[in-house]
Structures are given as C-alpha cells and as structure tokens.
Symmetry: C2
Subunit: 337 residues, 2 copies
DNA sequence: ATAGGTTGTCGAAGCGCTTCGACAGGGACT
DNA sequence: AGTCCCTGTCGAAGCGCTTCGACAACCTAT
C-alpha cells in the first residue's frame, strides 16, 4: 500500500505539500503540483480513508437509512437510494446503507462513531422515534418524508397534500361526483406514515370543497385483495365513477378487475394513479397519474445535505409540487342513464 | 466526543486495557471488565471508526455494488441489498452502497483506500470488466451472479441452468409439446448477463432432450410490448400451450392478455414464472413458479465473505438449487380438438 | 535600499485507536 | 524456598493523514 510519505519522497517534496496538492487548501506552484500529480499516478496512490477520517474528523460518508419493510412500493425506495448514491459520489461522498431495522440505535452508533458525516432518513413516520435523537445529536441530516414536527429539521418530499387535492380537482373537473381512493396497505396508516395521511387529507379537504363524495379504502395490493376491496366499494357506492390509486401494486389488479366487470376505462370509470411514471406508462392503458419524483427527491436530499456540510445550509422543508399528467385513463363522467 | 482515554481514566485503568475489554483479544479480570463497561455506559462512549480503521487496517465495512440499470426487476435487487445489510450487521459489518455506474473505478478506489474490507458485486456479466481488477487486487469478494470464468472467485447464485431445465421438465411432464419463453429485455442479453443466458441454456437443452419445441422471445415488459410479443408468438407457433416467463414485469400483462384472448389458464395454456414468491402469489391467479431466493443469496454472500475475512474461507461457487412450486397456472395440455 | 506583504514549502504535532513487548503478582510445581 | 508459567495490566510506538505555525524567497511600494 502506497502512502502519502512515499509519494512525497518520490516527488521530492514534503508530505504536507502532497496533502495540500490533494486538498487544494493552500496554493501550490504549478511545477510542484505537476510533479506530485505525476508521482501519484506512477505509484498508484490512494489516500487511506481511515487515516483521513481520523486526521480531519470527516469521513466523507453519508449514511442512508432505508426502510426494511416491504409493504411499500420498493422500486421507489430503490430509485431514491440510487439517486442518493449517484449524487453523493458527484460531491465526493460515499453512502453507507443502514436498514430501518436498527432504528434509533443506528443513529446513535453512526453519530457516535463518526462513521458518517451526515444522515438521510427515509420512510419517516409522523412521530418518528429517531427524530429526537437526530435533533440532539446535532448531526447534519435530511429526511425524505415529512414528520409532524419539522422544527430544526430539513425535509424533502413530494407535496402529498397538494397531490391529493390535485387528484380531487381533476376528477371534479371531469364531472365526477363519487370517487373512491384505493390507499396503501393498512399497516402504512397504522404506523402513521406521513405521505399516506397527507394524501388523504388533501383528497378529503378538496373533495369536500368541491362537493365530491369520497370513500377511502386501504388496500394491500395483489389481485385477490383488490377484488374484495373493489366489490365492497361498489357495494357501498354503486355510483362511483372515479378512482385514485395510491398503492402501486393495486394498479394492475384494479385495471384487470374493472375490465373483467365490463367497466370501461375511461368511458365508464376514470382512474388516476399516484405512482412513478414507469408504472403509469407500462400498465394495460396509459394512466393519468401524479408522478412520484423519486430521483429528484434523492438528489435534492443529498444536495441539501452537502450544503449543510459545507456550512451554507439551512433547515428547511422542501415540498416538490406535484404534476398531474393526463393520459388515457380519465375522462368526463358518463352521462346518467 | 468521548475517547478511549477518557473511558480509561474514568475507570482507573490504562487505555490499552479498555481496548482489550472492547476487542476481547486478551483476558481481562471480571472486576476490571465490569468497571470499564460501566464507564463506557456512563460516558456514552463509541469508538471512533476512523481511528479504529487506521490502527487496525480494518474498516469493518463491506462494499456492495448494485446495478444502476432499471431494466431488471428491481425488488429482487433491493431484497438482496437489504439481506446483505442485515446479515452484515449481524457480523459486525456496515455496508457501503456503490452504484454500478462507477464500474471498475469503484473497485480500484475502494480497494486502494481501505474504505472497505471486502466487496460484493451484483449483476455480474459473463465477461465482467470488474473481475480482472478484483482478482489482482486480492481483496476478499463475493459475486452474486456467475461469470464465465470463475477461477479464483467466490460466487453465489441461483442455479439458473437447472431452473430452466426444471421449467421444461414440468411442462413436458404435463404433456406440452410447444412452449414459449418470455425472456428478459433484449438489453439484458446484449450485455451477456449470466443468469439470463443460463436459464435459456437450461431450457433449450432440456427441451431438446425431452422433445419440446421451444421459442424464445426477449421482452421488455409492460402491457403494450407484451401484446406485440404474444401476438408474434401465436403467429409463429399457433400450437403453443406452455409459457415460461422470466421477466417479472411481463407477468401481469401476459395473464391479462391471455384472458382477454379467451385463452384460459391453466385449461388452455400453462404459465410458469421465474420470480419471487410474492409476485407469483399476488398475480391474478396463483402462479406455478420457480422462486428467486433473493434473501438467501444476500445472506449467503455475506456469510461467505465474513468467513473469508476471518481466514477460514474458500473460493467456491455456490449454486442454490431451484425449487418449483406448483400453483394454479399450470395443468395438463388440453386434449387436441 | 528597506519595510511590508505575498506565495510556496516544510516540520512537527496530533487525531483515537490497536498491539507489542514488558512485567508484576500469584499458583503450581519441584 | 525457589523456579517456572500463567494471568492481567501497562506504556509506548505507530497506523497515514491533516493542519498549524514558521519561514525563506520573492515582489511591490515607498
């Protein structure tokens, strides 16, 4: 293993000079810089991460805590994680993968050991038990998701309240009066995941304002469960003509079932999905949808974190504005009769 | 930040004693151990990761390189990643998340800097460009996937050749003579991903042995693409009665299309999926399938790696035996007429 | 020519830990 | 009683880097 000292000797300069060439923290003459850089090349030098971390108290690592659960749409999580890793590398950071399993302990461990310089938390609950620790640790962090109390925290999320409202508006505008919301799995609501509840709030409030009747049903996804859920919905509200689906694994089943029942989309019923664009465009018909901007969320989270680490960063709640793309699954309400 | 020295002082022992309490590398009297442990508790001490890495040349970090691509079924990747992270923690390791994007450079960087003690590579191609580097670096590593040349490497993978053979056997046994294979996206074959080609080999060879006619069509997944693919298949081989699907995002569309065309499953055609159990059980009918044991692959990979890091580890290719679960999507070939 | 300010380089200290060799003390033997 | 060997503890060195203060060399303005 090649060390700084060896590079220095090879280039005929002192160790500190090599260090300054690497970090750029002091000015170095062009000639010296070139000699050092050549030596680095020739010897194949890579700075030792541990030594660097020890001396500078900076690990250049960002910890990312991903949910262990699989009751939420996994590809979104993965897309966020990859966006985080990619963006982090651009800024010179590596990413440490923590699972939600460890919970608050992981925060303590990472904070205490200096393993990571900062944290990104995904799947934040409204009243998340990791937050008090995070606040008191003073470690720079960004949440992807929105807890109830955001004081002293930086959060990045899609504006799910606005997303819900947007869906209600779109359906109302098309003349629908009775809509049903196919929500996330019950467990998601039970643990008070912010995004699910906020979407619901947005839907409810806007529906009320617009005079829509709205029925909400959590749904675990999968064909059989969806079949039962759908049957119950039409039982209770036979006049339902609009659907908003928030659980991606319920999308395909819903479409299949509607077709099977002879309900044409969008002629008889309209369907809006809240899902990544890929899901919306790969379904059996192109779905009107509000996109979940997974990549952007990951990217923004890292950029905020890096800004904080560089000193110019603020506590802030960033809510991305939802965008509804009209495709082939929504249309005017069928004329009565 | 609390240091070893402070703990030592608080407990009235020397720093090295505290270190030995922590590592267990020398025997410590019960009394001393307890005093030290109490001090650690009281002061809330966490060893500094950088200092530890520097002094011991061990970072206790495993690097995991996940594919950046999204043309393969993402949940499997995620499940593997999470199993890796979880298992690694059990053995005292953390996981560094590397994206495939960086390619061979990431191997060099991680190896050279001592950032990680070992690597796990996912999405290995038959002739992967990262392998020469990995071999020469001498860094302990495990591949999830199977390259063409496994000399000097440890690999963990599902036995996809056997998987293909198993599918052919099952269909042959039910009396099918004409089968179609819905494969992964063309890009997956183009970059010579081992598992896709091996599955195909297994299917082809066993089909030949059993007198099956087999048609293979790569397929990107999604409803529209699947529709075109399916139409071409029945065009070319109208007598097709058996399907093997390897692309998870083609499963739901295939079932929907078959139903739409009035072909009953399993009465008219049989369908086997190669996919995680969750996909097989959540589809519109319970699918006969060969499971992809994502968790087990992740777990085994880590365990092998840890064994290597502990000195008792061998280069070895671990192929997990496929298991076919018969569910409701396969049945005897329809009697002619 | 001289004071004052840059610029580029160096030496040394120190980050917090692991680990090696040393050694005091106490049993179990001769 | 003396030797030997454990067992448990300590001190010190050193891991490879960053960073601070020092300082020589040069440039500019008097």
């Amino acid at each position: 293993m090649v060390t700084l000292a060896e590079v220095a000797q090879h280039a005929g300069v002192s160790a500190s000079t090599v260090s300054y060439v690497l970090s750029g923290k002091r000015s170095i003459s062009a000639g010296t810089r070139q000699r050092v850089e050549r030596s680095i090349q020739e010897l194949g030098y890579h700075p030792n991460a541990g030594a660097r971390a020890l001396a500078s108290s900076r690990s250049n690592i960002i910890a990312l805590m991903v949910p262990l659960r699989t009751d939420m749409y996994v590809p979104v999580m993965m897309e966020i994680a990859i966006a985080v890793a990619t963006t982090a590398r651009i800024h010179g950071y590596d990413v440490l993968l923590l699972t939600g399993e460890e919970g608050p302990d992981a925060v303590r461990r990472v904070t205490g050991s200096g393993l990571a310089d900062a944290m990104i938390l995904m799947d934040v609950e409204l009243d998340d038990e990791r937050l008090p620790l995070l606040r008191q640790s003073g470690q720079p962090s960004v949440l992807i998701g929105l807890p109830a109390d955001t004081a002293g925290l930086t959060c990045v999320d899609l504006d799910f309240t606005a997303t819900g409202a947007l869906c209600a508006e779109h359906l109302a505008l098309l003349g629908h009066r009775d809509i049903a919301v196919i929500g996330e799995a019950p467990a998601v609501y039970e643990r008070h995941t912010g995004f699910a509840e906020r979407t619901l709030d947005g839907l409810r409030n806007r529906s009320r304002e617009l005079g829509l009747r709205m029925l909400h049903r959590p749904c675990e996804g999968g064909y059989d469960v969806m079949a039962v859920t759908l049957a119950r919905i039409f039982d209770e509200r036979p006049g339902t003509t609009g659907f908003v689906v928030q659980n991606e694994s319920a999308v395909a089943p819903l479409l299949a079932l509607l077709r099977q029942q002879g309900r044409a989309v969008p002629e008889d019923v309209s369907v809006i999905a809240i899902c990544p664009d890929q899901v919306a465009t790969q379904a059996s018909l192109r779905l009107t949808s509000v996109a979940i901007p997974a990549q952007e969320m990951g990217r923004r989270a890292v950029e905020h974190l890096v800004a904080k680490l560089d000193g110019h960063g603020t506590d802030e709640v960033v809510l991305l504005a939802p965008e509804l793309t009209v495709r082939a699954s929504t249309g005017p309400v069928p004329s009565a009769g």
